[in-house]
């Protein structure tokens, strides 16, 4: 069982609100990732981090921001939620096991913006 947690699991929020999706892992992994997953669509990488104070944008353009102040914590923030942000957000981390190819995923946060 992977030790990676996401809160909240489900969130329904109105347009214009600021939200933060939390992600924590207890495995001491340096690499962490945020993906967006929509039905019938591939996982899209929106942010990643290779360690504390290191963050990069992924291939999918996103209006969200991330921070990595502690190794175990990688929150994602939307300053002003819009209906287009409605999606499933998955957080993942990886260490050195299996050449770094084994990503451990959290259960996801399903976000609905009304």
């Amino acid at each position: 069982e992977a030790d990676i947690y996401q809160t909240p699991r489900y969130l329904v929020i109105g347009t214009g609100k600021k939200i933060t999706l939390e992600c924590s892992q207890t495995m001491g992994h340096d690499k962490m990732y945020w993906y967006q997953q929509d039905p019938g669509m591939e996982l899209h990488l929106i942010h990643y981090s290779y360690g504390v104070n290191s963050t990069e944008k992924g291939d999918l353009s996103s209006e969200s921001t991330v921070s990595r102040i502690r190794t175990e914590h990688f929150p994602l923030t939307l300053e002003s939620a819009r209906p287009s942000h409605t999606s499933q957000y998955l957080c993942a981390s990886s260490g050195y096991r299996d050449r770094g190819l084994r990503q451990y995923f959290g259960p996801g946060t399903r976000l609905t913006v009304t």
Binding site: E42, L43, Y48
Partner: protein, 111 residues
């Protein structure tokens, strides 16, 4: 053009059948090929990975990579109802860096 193409299915098979899941890709720089399984309302979990071309077997699962055709496959032998899930292929040019996922194939194994 998408980096990775995967038939979304859905695929429905009887228990005990051999299942074949496939992905094609366009980026010849991909060196690592992974298969993830995702149960409903859960995050994906890594099943197995291969490096470059060839086959890899793990129990009832066999992964094949044909880099010349840019085609990868996952075979499931003696499929079980517990194999019912969505299977996602993923690829990477450099281990542990950016990953490119397929859309996933939904599989149902009927008892």
């Amino acid at each position: 053009q998408k980096e990775v193409e995967q038939d979304p299915g859905p695929l429905s098979v009887p228990e005990g059948a051999i299942v074949s899941l496939n992905c094609t890709y366009s980026n010849s720089a991909f060196q690592y090929f992974m298969w993830y399984r995702q149960y409903s309302r859960k995050g994906p979990e890594l099943l197995m990975y291969t490096y470059s071309s060839g086959n890899k077997e793990d129990g009832r699962f066999t992964a094949q990579v044909d880099k010349s055709s840019k085609y990868i496959s996952l075979f499931i032998r003696d499929s079980q109802p517990s194999d019912s899930a969505t299977y996602l292929c993923a690829m990477s040019g450099t281990a542990g860096n950016q990953f490119y996922f397929g859309t996933g194939t939904s599989l149902t194994v009927i008892p």
